[in-house]
């Protein structure tokens, strides 16, 4: 019975340590704010997603055309609007990139917590 209690106590202590770990490792951080995507990043993310969707749709249309699922007529009817969509989403991205250049990306480990721009 006492063995059980000792093991239970050890377990509890271990769990407390694990939970407190972030505070123990970094007692005086430069910044404690959560690294989040700001509005600019989110807008960029949406544009990137739109661009990827448009490019993937084009690729899939090509594939469907090659396998015969999309007939020549269907292909001709669809490829134009898709190409325009892809082009415009690429343009949107470029415009966004020119207006808000991304600064200082941390490639390894956690971000320093400093976010510029």
């Amino acid at each position: 019975m006492t063995l059980a209690l000792v093991l239970a106590a050890l377990l509890a202590v271990a769990c407390v340590v694990v939970v407190a770990l972030p505070f123990l490792r970094d007692p005086e951080p430069v910044s404690d704010t959560l690294d989040e995507l700001d509005a600019g990043d989110r807008r960029r993310l949406e544009l990137v997603e739109a661009r990827d969707r448009a490019l993937a749709a084009l690729k899939e249309l090509e594939f469907d055309h090659r396998t015969g699922t999309a007939s020549d007529d269907d292909y001709r009817a669809l490829v134009g609007p898709l190409r325009r969509e892809a082009a415009s989403s690429l343009q949107d991205l470029e415009r966004d990139g020119a207006a808000h250049p991304a600064v200082g990306v941390e490639e390894k480990g956690r971000p320093t917590g400093e976010r510029t721009s």
Binding site: L11, A12, V18, L45, R66, L78, E107
Partner: protein, 664 residues
């Protein structure tokens, strides 16, 4: 050691509460270290639940009957494998397994995604914490697996029908499925709360949903196989509420898997997807509520066990809060694109969703109708098999056909003229198949004939897709046909893996149609030496043997089987009388024909003292296709799940473009 188990569960509960509260605070206030601390709490909760599980498992293996749970679910004579399965065989143990899988999945899902979706993860953690708190609370306060007693000499033993290999794998797989659905749900709610309604929550949870869905599907097939062989009434699915409990979330998850593809390709149906994942998760909770609460067992009282109301309350909270969140975020969920044509792949997916949901809700209605009618009229009205069979046909047959139509339609818009060309071969194959089968006598069951015809249509479609795709890849410069084939699949894993899964469903449909619409049954009371006939089989009752096994007395009637004069060997059918459990179980004799896939299914219904046996015999055509379908299903899922290096690179690239650290 029971105290250690109890303490570990209390620790798990505390950690879950911490993950919920601290996680929510960290997300709301934007505190980094607190957020990591909450994430760690999920991991620690898994560890402490693991400790509790180890305590229970060791008590089972040691036959420690001072644990009330162990005494109730096992006995000394029980074989080790089944002693282990007793872990999830009872109420408390199965809840512990649920919590173990839940905390494990939560810790893993958070850990794997925190690098690239940090702002989403911070809100996912408290959701996991909330669900985990519920189950940990049940284990600590309502259904304690570590209750102790004065140890009796021996345990009560395990129900004989559960002492079967399928019952070893069936519950854990179902739990992987049920609990696995928590992951997309948590991410969806996290996306709603954080306002991060982009596609990251879908991308992060796609494989989790697939794994859960596959586990749920395979688990159900194993359960059906168990019912077929072990319960032995000649069928494999009885539309029992307990069976429906697993089918409903599976159908909702199937709809979800399809509609997320629309969101990924076209950005549409965002609200729909969140509602679907909420439905799937709620149904999985509802399903486990059905099997636990005693609603199923007692026809009259609403809940017999005290655990039922807790589950209902939790489901109520989940649904209410989730719907409120959806309503709050509705403006953000508006999608920019619209459905362009009712003849398009998007539309086909939409029809698929509607049919799946219709079937799911019909089954749900059938399950709750007795409860509702009792509450309203004081009288429980039960809907029978005919109800379910009717709606399975009405919604299932069009779904079957749709599986063949969907892949042949292009995205956005397809002209009717192109459809006529692409549908030529499949339609031809279907018509020919239908006519041939009609000539062979399949007209005896119209739904069965329709099922076969549609199956032919879909199989042709799938074969054509593989053929055309391989040819296209070869034209692009692949070295050989096998090379073209394998590169086709590896470059389009989701599409072709999906086709394999569709093929599995077709096999399932053929097997179900054959064994239920075109089966034959015969009954006879035979004394030793007498024979009976069914179809073109002839069975002669030879001897009656009695054997003593480890925990049962086995009585077997031996029959000689022949067909068209040719000897096909012997078959045994009989009963087992279990000593400790004081129960009798049916042991059916099954002879599977490797060529035709049909089963000769023999039940020794009644064994008289004078050795005369009342036999009930079935011939079930094509029934083994159902089990083969399970294997094909697994193969298709594996192909779809397989990690794709190209996809990984794309995600990393995208992260870099946005300026988010791309670490995992």
């Amino acid at each position: 050691m029971a105290e250690l188990g109890r303490a570990a569960l209390v620790v798990s509960l505390s950690l879950s509460v911490y993950a919920l509260v601290a996680g929510a605070a960290a997300a709301h206030l934007g505190r980094r270290r607190l957020a990591f601390s909450a994430q760690n709490a999920l991991l620690a909760a898994f560890a402490s639940t693991l400790v509790a599980s180890a305590v229970l498992l060791s008590a089972l293996l040691r036959n420690d009957f001072s644990f009330t749970y162990v005494a109730r679910t096992t006995s000394e004579a029980l074989p080790t494998a089944y002693t282990i399965s007793a872990f999830w065989g009872g109420q408390e143990g199965s809840l512990l397994l649920w919590l173990l899988v839940l905390t494990g999945f939560a810790a893993a899902a958070v850990r794997l995604n925190r690098g690239w979706a940090r702002d989403l993860i911070v809100w996912v953690v408290p959701v996991f914490g909330a669900v985990s708190t519920f189950f940990a609370f049940l284990l600590v306060a309502v259904a304690n697996p570590f209750a102790t007693q004065a140890a009796p000499g021996d345990g009560l033993g395990m129900t004989p029908s559960l002492q079967n290999p399928y019952m070893l794998a069936h519950p854990p797989l179902l739990y992987l499925g049920y609990v696995g659905l928590t992951v997309p749900f948590a991410f969806a709610i996290g996306a709603l709360i954080s306002g991060r309604t982009d596609e990251r929550w879908l991308v992060a949870t796609r494989r989790w949903t697939l794994v859960a869905w596959t586990a749920l599907g395979i688990g159900q097939l194993l359960g059906a196989h168990w019912a077929y062989e072990e319960v032995g009434w000649g069928g494999y699915y009885a539309w029992d509420p307990v069976e429906n409990a697993a089918l409903m979330p599976w159908l909702a998850a199937t709809a979800f898997l399809h509609s997320v593809m629309i969101q990924e390709k076209r950005g549409m149906l965002r609200v729909w997807n969140i509602l679907l994942v909420l439905l799937a998760f709620s149904l999985s909770l509802f399903g486990t509520f059905l099997t636990r609460s005693g609603v199923v067992n007692s026809i009259h009282s609403f809940t017999q066990s005290s655990i039922g109301p807790w589950f209902l309350a939790f489901i109520g909270v989940v649904v209410t809060v989730s719907l409120a969140l959806v309503f709050w975020r509705l403006p953000k969920l508006r999608s920019p694109t619209k459905l362009e044509s009712v003849v398009s792949r998007e539309a086909a997916f939409l029809y698929n969703n509607l049919l799946l949901l219709a079937l799911c809700l019909t089954i749900f209605w059938g399950v709750v109708y007795p409860l509702l009618s009792e509450a309203v009229r004081g009288e429980a009205v039960v809907l029978g098999r005919e109800y379910y069979d009717f709606f399975l046909r009405i919604f299932g047959l069009p779904l079957l056909l749709l599986m063949g139509i969907g892949p042949l339609i292009a995205w956005r818009r397809a002209s009717l003229r192109s459809l006529l060309t692409t549908f030529r071969w499949p339609t031809g194959a279907a018509v020919v198949t239908g006519l041939v089968l009609l000539a062979l006598g399949a007209g005896s069951s119209v739904p069965g004939l329709i099922a076969y015809t549609f199956a032919a249509f879909v199989i042709t479609t799938i074969a054509l897709e593989f053929a055309r795709g391989t040819r296209a890849r070869k034209a692009l410069g692949a070295t050989s046909w096998p090379g073209a084939f394998s590169s086709l699949i590896s470059r389009n894993r989701r599409r072709y893996g999906g086709y394999v899964v569709h093929a599995a469903i077709v096999l399932l449909a053929i097997g179900i149609a054959g064994s239920s619409a075109f089966d034959t049954v015969a009954e006879a009371k035979l004394t030793r030496g007498q024979s009976m006939e069914i179809g073109d089989y002839r069975l002669e009752y030879r001897t009656l043997d009695e054997r003593i096994a480890a925990n049962a007395t086995e009585i077997r009637a031996e029959l000689a089987v022949s067909r068209g004069g040719r000897d096909l060997g012997t078959l045994e059918a009989g009963k087992n009388a279990y000593t400790i459990e004081e129960q009798v179980s049916n042991e059916v004799g099954i002879r599977s024909d490797p060529l035709t896939g049909e089963d000769l299914f023999v039940i020794a219904e009644q064994i008289d003292p004078d050795g005369a046996v009342y036999f009930r015999v079935f011939v079930k055509p094509l029934v083994n296709l159902i089990w083969i379908a399970g294997l094909v299903f697994l193969l298709g899922s594996l192909i779809t799940l397989w990690p794709d290096a190209r996809e990984q690179r794309r995600l990393v690239e995208r992260a870099r473009e946005i300026g988010v650290p791309a670490t995992r």
